[in-house]
Symmetry: C2
Subunit: 427 residues, 2 copies
């Protein structure tokens, strides 16, 4: 590329970052895309990796492969440690610096423990591929240990699975773990009855899927209960330990805990020294720029923004993608010397959550759906949004086997990457 | 099961152990199958996981799922630490003991460094799923680092991949890494030319695929060279370090080394205190029993046995399977009070190795094949021997994409399980 091209650095290859790059195709720019990982993941289905339904490669694609047809995009595997907004440079961990004319921060969020990071070893969250394989390993190992355990109290704790937080991820995890225990694993064990596994969904608020209409929340709770999930509402978790979860002043002995109760933004606000909300999200201008820095955009889960109705823009894939499209439009307008587009307007297309086989809830706003039809729409929509024909075929094949034969192909316990686990558990 | 059933403990769920259990179906026995891992792997395709061609779940199945239809078989995830042959008990790491009437040891082998275990951090071998993902990570990270490296000497070392040992695994790895660099990765990198990656196959002996006829070895060497692999024969590796490989007194700077040069049997001989060959393999009786213990069978890669022609039975899947079938027959005969079957006779069905796309060699004994036809037979045979329709469809789909579009779906760098790596590499 010519040295005079407008240099854009994009940090983060999630939905927002990729969509911005996609919509900059053909513009006279030189783009550097930096991510800590070599792969983009389809986060809406990450819980299916955690529950052995899908394998990792079905929902993850090498970032540089996605950029194969874009010679003006250079992909770098690297960790950003700071931004020098004055010199317009991004600093990487190994000391390298990337100069930019425009910076797009699309760095996402991690799960958060409300100031209790010491709970993480006991209650992993679900954001990266490694989180999913860690949770998968813990769930599968719990059943294996239970099969060999002779102490009934320990066996009960091994067969108790607690999910903290009843948002979409918590609901989907709880429903799928229940089906895994009852349908998939039951014929494979000899000494334990996997139907007796307890799946407990603990939520501090008054209902599940708080963002959904009341009747869909009710339906979801009933559906989960019919799958055998115990739904505990209005119960704030006050501690997670190697022994279990404490809520309402009582310990529920459980060896497997999954955290789905909260997220915290990436440290992008700290890199810039700009105002953030209590979850660390950058409070951006209506045009998605960082206050005082029109050349720095921030999008997706790492920003806090109110929609036109005053409600916060949700931290979901379509919102990040819309922001990516918007930022590309603003950059194109600037390069062309056109007037700036009007402020970003988030358009909510709908909320979808799967509860279990042939059960899902959808809130399109103008229509609410639940049950089998909602499940079909959920499945088709998710396959449609996967990248590449190959992944669509592969996921369709995996789902066909799950739904017709209760077989989950990714029931692999693999070692490593889980030092926290060995530290946390002595059993 | 009734307490009086004949109790069989099978250690190891590889090809030999599973085949023995398969052929004991319907016998009045109570079987306990113990393995350190929860999954059986299809080892002949493990190198395809190491080279990002297949994902882990395509060649691995949960052992207890395979035993789903066999209520008399109990599967345990556990590590055997010893055998008390007098009391007829298998000791597990957690202190538990398993009583047996008949014991089948099918514990396989690990790669071996001829007394140089200190090389392992620099030159991982390929036996377990984790080995494959470690090698995959190292290969992919080497390209990522090379893309960012500014020092040409370091970049060259990052783009040099050394495979030690030119048996089937070494040949298959070398050919596939060369194709990965040239076909799959080339369009994805901007700063480096992946065609310049060096793949060096180092062999101490005088030819590649020593177990094959001379003309197939020659064809394999030429094919590898046409793929760009440098084949170095008669060169014994004298050291593996973080900087590279030393052979012929010279250092070849390389950041990625894969060990395919030798194996050592599991410690089964040590558990029993019985004679072993120099690779630690139990020298079994012609009836596959351990000397002095007619109730203990040992099969597969953990034993040393001469075939009827005096040549050693090779450490390949068909040999382990045939031994498993034989042992089941002997046990059935004993239970029925029938005379003992004649000694085990290994029947060699053929040797197959893939070199690259549309290139393979096959030695059936009565006919030798090479090139495209051999490759088709190789592919069909491997798909045929996979367990389950699901895996066959999935692998066929993956291969279709590799061969038509050069896409390898499992190009994921995931963290963890690789402490050796961080210890070994400072770069």
């Amino acid at each position: 590329m010519a040295g005079e091209s407008h240099r854009i650095v994009v940090v983060g290859a999630g939905f927002g970052g990729l969509e911005a790059i996609h919509h900059l195709k053909g513009a006279a720019v030189e783009i550097t895309l930096v991510d800590r990982r070599n792969h983009h993941i389809f986060q809406p289905l990450l819980y299916q990796v955690a529950t052995a339904s899908l394998s990792t490669s079905e929902i993850a694609w090498p970032i540089r492969h996605l950029m194969r047809g874009r010679p003006e995009v250079t992909t770098l595997l690297g960790e950003v440690t700071g931004v020098d907004a004055t010199a317009r440079r991004v600093r990487l961990k190994d000391g390298a610096q990337l100069a930019y004319d425009t910076l797009i921060l699309a760095t996402g969020a991690r799960h958060a423990y409300f100031g209790h990071d010491e709970w993480e070893p006991y209650a992993p969250g679900l954001k990266a591929i490694e989180d999913a394989t860690t949770i998968r390993r813990r769930i599968l190992i719990a059943f294996e240990k239970a099969e060999r355990e002779t102490d009934p109290a320990v066996q009960d704790a091994l067969l108790t699975f607690v999910i903290v937080g009843a948002g979409p991820t918590g609901v989907e995890l709880a429903g799928t773990i229940a089906e895994l225990a009852r349908d998939t694993l039951a014929p494979d064990f000899r000494r334990i009855d996997t139907h007796k596994a307890r799946v407990v969904l603990v939520e501090a608020g008054p209902r599940v899927l708080a963002g959904y209409p009341d009747d869909l929340s009710d339906y979801t709770k009933q559906s989960l209960e019919s799958l055998g999930v115990e739904v505990v509402l209005g119960a704030a978790v006050t501690e997670c330990t190697a022994d279990g979860v404490i809520y309402g002043g009582k310990l529920l002995p459980a060896r497997t805990i999954v955290w789905a109760a909260g997220v915290r933004a990436s440290p992008a606000a700290e890199w810039l020294g700009v105002p953030a909300d209590r979850n660390g999200r950058i409070i951006v201008e209506p045009g998605l720029t960082v206050p005082g820095h029109p050349e720095i955009f921030a999008i997706g889960d790492t920003v806090s923004l109110a929609g036109p109705d005053g409600k916060p823009v949700p931290g979901i894939a379509p919102a990040a993608k819309q922001a990516g499209v918007y930022v590309a439009r603003v950059i194109r307008a600037r390069l062309a010397g056109d007037p700036a587009p009007p402020p970003f307007r988030y358009k909510h297309q709908g909320s979808l959550a799967q509860i279990g086989k042939k059960r899902a809830v959808i809130d399109f706003g103008w229509i609410k759906l639940r049950g089998a039809l909602a499940w079909w729409i959920w499945g088709i929509a998710h396959i449609y949004f996967l990248i590449s024909v190959r992944s669509r075929l592969s996921v369709a094949l995996s789902w066909l086997w799950i739904h017709t034969r209760n077989q989950r192909s990714a029931r692999l316990i693999t070692q490593g990457g889980d030092e926290d686990e060995s530290r946390a558990r002595s059993g």
